[in-house]
Amino acid sequence: MHAGLDLSAYTERRSFPVRDSFGDFLAENDYVSNRFQKWGGDMALYYSQQGFSASAGWYTLENLKYEYREEIRSDLGTGTYNRDPLAGLHLVSFSGILHGFRYLPLLMISANVLHWDIPTPVYSAAAWKRASV
């Protein structure tokens, strides 16, 4: 029996350059910072007897998760307590997983190594979601 789990943490930065009045580069200013996590994994079973073996497994072909969040602040005049009130958010959210399944029976017909192999199909199941505000 085999099992594996992968966890990945992503940080996405989108920047624009800041220049001084002479046009010289000063810094990269990030206007978006996104953090999201993805997981993936695999699991397999293997069985063998004399002259016969079989294995079957599941694995994550692709985790399509993606999260984008950009905060938009408006600009109110002097004298307002909060001059940067929240105007809205740009949100993009994707989710979905492509699953892979694989099985492999093996039969020994003679002492020579002859086997019967079934081509591996990939079954995919994905859910897609998109949202914006």
Partner: protein, 584 residues
């Protein structure tokens, strides 16, 4: 003590001083000149004290005063010369009080403390004396903790004890401590008399803290809760907090003040911020090779109810004794779940380091640092090259650094220490004897080399040369002098130091002649005198020190070391509302 230490619990390395001690302060602001003694009668301990001092204060035009002020350096007419009435030696404080402790069995006590400070000026907080742009005071989100300023204590009164008295400040409190095998429970409460009736606590602002510490062979656990009312304006309070009083108030923004020196009301203060929250920390040695540490603080700033969270986890792995790998991860946030406010931030910091301990105490170390802080984008603060405002603001800033260092001992008396770092962004690290903060928006290099020689067992010479391609003027606020928060030196009493931190040059040269503290500067009974006539030159009893470079306290701290030349009122749990004594 007259300086602020974040998260000082009184345990571990941050021991609380008990009883009468030699002066442990870094300036003269809260030092005491007077008479005190300790008296023990069976299980009753008495520590009465009486002191008379000259203080620095912010005076109002009507000759009353708004607040005490601690300045480094002390400047009489402000940093821009705008304070015509003077800031130095303009107030007298007569103080008396006592600590009474009942200790019926070892490891358990109940204590009571009170003090009264009498001032020869009326204490009347008048914000317009300090703040130039009153439209920003209490009405600006960038100063969301201004309520803390508005809660400043005021008093107008006379005293039968002192005919010159025009104001008083009275604080009363109680504390307890109880040891049960390997666990200790402690607590303290203080009340600032705000209604003129000492024993009526109904309307008085309170500050209280309780904590416990549990110690095993390979595991310990510290838990602490504190709650300080906004109006508990006690200049001798030194209890646990993350930040100093007046953080995120208009006192941080010196350009809104009448003079830059008023920025010291925030940057020089020793008082903790009014906070309410729970802190716990633990250390667990899983095996000989693996040590885990965790600190977690969840608190609310009382002034604006800002919710904070700070979690630091550390793991150390040493596959062999001489080789150590360390990982430190910090998560910190304010208003994490409230995106309507523009005061939100989330901060992440990762430091991966390793150390090789070689023979003869030689050492090589490497560090990788990554950090990222997210905050609200404020597009109105960013202009485009075409002259208009940018449609997007800055929503975060990153930092990264790679550093390598070494220590080589040529013999028992001479060693060379060096470090080289490539960095970008806001980076802090310990640098020889200093805690350093560097900030650069572009890739920069910082390197330093120290030659250290012990001339005799007690006297050493330190020669340090630093190169920084981006030595930040960001660290400096207020013309030549720094009024921003300073970072204390980690060790040492410097007798002489040269090299001027005021110059924002890329290259810096400093020579420090360093005197080890070989005496315990405690005294149990005495009349205390101490004199520091100016901000840049200081004399104390038996100690000669030259603050030739003036502006920066982090390399020029001078403390008495000749055996008890001054008194620090550390005894007083209310006056100092210190956290309880270390577990023993």
């Amino acid at each position: 003590m007259d300086y602020f230490t974040p998260r000082k619990s009184g345990y571990g390395w941050r021991k609380r001083l008990i009883g009468i001690n030699g002066d442990a302060s870094r300036s003269r602001t809260y030092s005491q000149s007077g008479l005190t003694g300790e008296y023990q009668f069976k299980w009753l301990y008495l520590t009465p004290f009486f002191a008379y001092n000259t203080r620095d204060a912010v005076l109002n035009p009507d000759s009353s005063f708004s607040a005490l002020i601690r300045m480094e350096p002390r400047v009489d007419n402000g940093l821009n010369g705008n304070v015509s009435q003077g800031l130095m030696n303009n107030l007298h404080e007569l103080m008396y009080g006592s600590n009474i402790r009942f200790q019926p069995i070892p490891g358990a006590h109940i204590g009571l403390t009170f003090y009264e400070s009498l001032y020869d000026r009326k204490l009347d907080f008048q914000p317009e004396t300090i703040i130039a742009d009153m439209s920003k005071y209490l009405g600006h989100m960038g100063n969301s903790a201004d309520a803390e300023i508005a809660a400043s204590y005021g008093s107008s009164a006379s005293s039968a004890l002192w005919s010159k008295a025009k104001a008083y400040r009275r604080v009363m409190g109680a504390d307890f401590s109880l040891n049960l095998k390997n666990v200790v429970f402690q607590g303290e409460i203080g009340a600032l008399d705000d209604n003129g009736s000492v024993l009526n606590f109904k309307d008085d602002p309170l500050a209280w803290t309780v904590n416990m510490y549990w110690q095993f062979e390979n595991f310990n656990f510290l838990a602490l809760y504190r709650s300080y009312d906004l109006g508990f304006d006690n200049p001798y309070q030194r209890s646990f907090s993350n930040y100093t009083r007046y953080k995120t108030t208009i006192y941080e923004d010196i350009y809104y003040l009448q003079d830059d020196a008023y920025g010291f009301l925030y940057s020089g203060t020793s008082q903790p911020q009014a906070e309410k929250g729970f802190d716990y920390s633990t250390r667990y040695q899983l095996s000989r090779a693996i040590i885990l540490n965790m600190e977690h603080d969840i608190w609310e700033r009382v002034a604006d109810r800002a919710k904070y969270n700070r979690l630091v986890a550390r793991v150390e792995y040493r596959p062999v004794f001489n080789y150590r790998i360390r990982l430190r991860q910090k998560w910190q946030s304010r208003y994490r779940d409230n995106f309507f406010t523009s005061n939100v931030y989330r901060s992440y910091e990762t430091i991966l380091g390793n150390e090789f301990h070689l023979s003869r105490f030689d050492r090589i170390d490497f560090e990788l640092i990554f950090g990222y802080t997210e905050f609200s984008p404020r597009a109105r603060l960013v202009y485009t090259t075409a002259g208009g405002r940018s449609p997007v603001g800055n929503a975060g800033s990153s930092s990264r650094a790679i550093r390598a260092g070494f220590t080589h001992n040529f013999n028992d008396y001479f060693k060379i220490i060096g470090s080289a770092m490539l960095y970008n962004g806001f980076i802090w690290n310990f640098e020889d004897t200093d805690f350093r903060v560097t900030n650069s928006p572009v890739d920069s290099f910082r390197g330093w080399l120290t030659l250290y020689s012990r001339i005799t067992d007690n006297l050493s010479l330190r020669f340090k040369y630093t190169v920084d391609t981006r030595d930040g003027p960001e660290q400096y606020r207020g013309s030549l002098y720094r009024t921003g928060r300073r970072f204390p030196a980690s060790t040492g009493q410097h007798l002489l130091s040269f090299g001027d931190e005021r110059f924002q040059a890329a290259n810096r040269l400093s020579i420090l002649i360093y005197k080890r503290n070989v005496y315990d500067s405690q005294t149990r009974f005495g009349i205390i005198t101490y004199h520091r006539p100016g901000g840049r030159t200081a004399f104390r009893t038996g100690v000669f020190s030259v603050h030739g470079t003036g502006a920066d306290s982090q390399t020029q701290r001078t403390q008495s070391f000749l055996g008890g030349s001054a008194l620090a009122l550390e005894q007083n749990p209310v006056a100092g509302l210190h956290n309880p004594p270390p577990f023993s």
